[in-house]
Amino acid sequence: MSREVLLETINIWKKFGGLVALRDVNIKIFKGELLGIIGPNGSGKTTLYNVITGFLKPDKGKVIFTGKEITGMPPHEIAKMGVVRTFQLVKPFMGMSVLDNVRVALYMRYGLFSSVSESEILREAREILEAVKLLHRVDVTADSLSHGEKKKLEIGRALALKPKVLLFDEPTGGLTPTEMDEIIELIKQLHDWGMTIAVVEHNMRVIMNVSERLIAMNNGMVIAEGDPREVVSNPEVIKAYLGERFAVKGK
């Protein structure tokens, strides 16, 4: 693949006390791709996201985005550069209306003192809320949304920043099957629009459904990478998920 690398981690290490959360992680996210990242609990997926987006500083290694090193930059600057994430446990601005949740992100994208008019902002907020199918809920506060709607709102808020790469952290965690399908549709649609997306997921149905390329992690390491079908039948991956006994039957 000679595609353009948009985001890259080089030899990332992260320790929490004696626990090595990330050991020598090298991943590449190519422009326009839809990358899936799987791995059992505690395999370091969310830690990797935290390191990429500046919420955690790596002990060693570099994060490169569009050719520039962003390692250790504060989260808000990384977000402004276009590396935008969502959270595993939803974090909408609970006391604010759905509209304001998106609006405040738009303010940050354009800058607080920009000359972009409020009607312009509202028009864009409308487009975003339409894309995530929350337009009928504009005027309620975020805390009165259902869990699935909160997940959508968080995606909407991330979209408001016009991300260059969108990092989803378990976008379908805790959702009903119907809601899950909606989110899958949404992710696919964003991908069709040319957005670069990485999805951390547990749910195999979701990950096999959306990802073009798959990375599997375990114990803070990348253990397999490539075509999704090949990765999930890789004995290492099966071992990581199901334990030693099942590894043999795997293939």
């Binding site: 609970m94 006391g95 604010m96 920043l161």
Partner: protein
């Protein structure tokens, strides 16, 4: 540019206008005592609403807030008496000095959260209090400074007259509350609220949290400093007691009683507490017991404070409908 959301803002503005009109007729009674109490209430209301920027909009519990009032008061007093500056310039510089002190405290302390921040601001308040008492070659210590010059008149307006000063304070009070309310309903205000709701999510959408926390601290302490300076040139006597912990607690009580996060509410809280403390004057320090009981009751039964409760129950019901229609039209 600062833009705001017209819905709730309009009710607050109408409310402020009505209150201003009501206050404007009070001097007609010719009752100097009431005017005196109201002047002090205007100043405390400005303090409470400015503190609300920190308590209600950034969710930071600030305990030594009266220190900034005292810094404004002493700065303007000393500059006008020792340096001979016009008290008008003194008032402005009182605000500036208070802001600088706010930055000195805020830049390290605003990294802290919750009780840690509360304790560090409490410590700051105590330090200022002790400095005012012990730097007696500048501040005359606990004796205080008498004979502070009044604000010089402009043209034929004479501010040493109580009625005139009353109107000046009314105008300053209304302007301060209006500007603070404008600020909180602007884009800037929405960013503050987002930060308060969830810091991680705020970072993730590109909000530079330390910058916003420091800037709002600077704005708030500026207003507190100006209020303190106006107090000094009104009373024409100050002593370190204005920076005492009991005053800080009283201001915080006004915020909680009136309704944190509403700007207008804390001003209402200030008027109510000032009124109560006048009525209960014979009880001396036991008044604090009643303050305490009142706050416990309000927090228990009306967590949003008086204004929060009122706006939710009475005004907002109608307003929310209007706003929804407005939002739908706008979209």
């Amino acid at each position: 540019m600062l833009r705001w959301n017209r819905g709730v803002f309009r009710t607050d503005f109408m409310f402020l206008l009505l209150a201003a009109l009501a206050f404007a007729v009070i001097p007609l009674t010719g009752n100097y005592y009431i005017m005196h109490v109201l002047i002090l209430s205007f100043l405390n209301a400005m303090l409470a609403s400015a503190l609300d920027l920190l308590v209600g909009y950034t969710g930071s519990l600030i305990l030594g807030y009266a220190a900034f009032y005292a810094i404004g008061a002493y700065t303007s007093t000393l500059l006008s008496m020792r340096v001979g500056l016009s008290p008008w310039i003194g008032v402005f510089l009182g605000g500036v000095t208070s802001t600088l002190a706010g930055l000195v405290l805020g830049i390290p302390a605003l990294r802290l959260r919750g009780p840690y921040l509360a304790i560090s601001t409490l410590g700051f308040g105590v330090i200022i209090y002790l400095l005012l008492i012990n730097l007696d070659f500048i501040t005359r210590g606990p004796l205080g400074i008498p004979g502070i010059p009044p604000l010089p008149g402009i043209g034929f307006i004479d501010f040493s007259d109580r009625t005139t000063y009353y109107y000046l304070m009314l105008v300053i009070f209304v302007a301060a509350i209006y500007l603070l309310r404008l600020l909180t309903s602007s884009r800037y205000g929405r960013v503050l609220i987002a930060m308060r709701e969830d810091e991680d999510a705020a970072k993730a959408i590109g909000i530079n949290i330390p910058l916003y926390r420091i800037s709002v601290f600077a704005i708030s302490t500026f207003v507190a400093g100006i209020a303190g300076a106006f107090y000094a040139h009104y009373m024409r006597y100050i002593n370190p007691e204005i920076s005492a912990l009991s005053h800080s607690i009283a201001i915080l009580s006004m915020v909680l009683l009136g309704g944190a996060g509403t700007v207008v509410g804390p001003s209402i809280g200030a008027f109510i507490l000032m009124f109560i403390s006048e009525v209960l004057r014979p009880l001396l320090e036991y008044r604090l017991l009643i303050y305490g009981a009142l706050i416990v009751l309000v927090i228990r039964y009306f967590p949003g404070g008086i204004y929060g409760y009122l706006s939710r129950k009475l005004i907002l019901r109608k307003l929310v409908l209007e706003k929804r229609i407005e939002v739908r039209k706008a979209l």
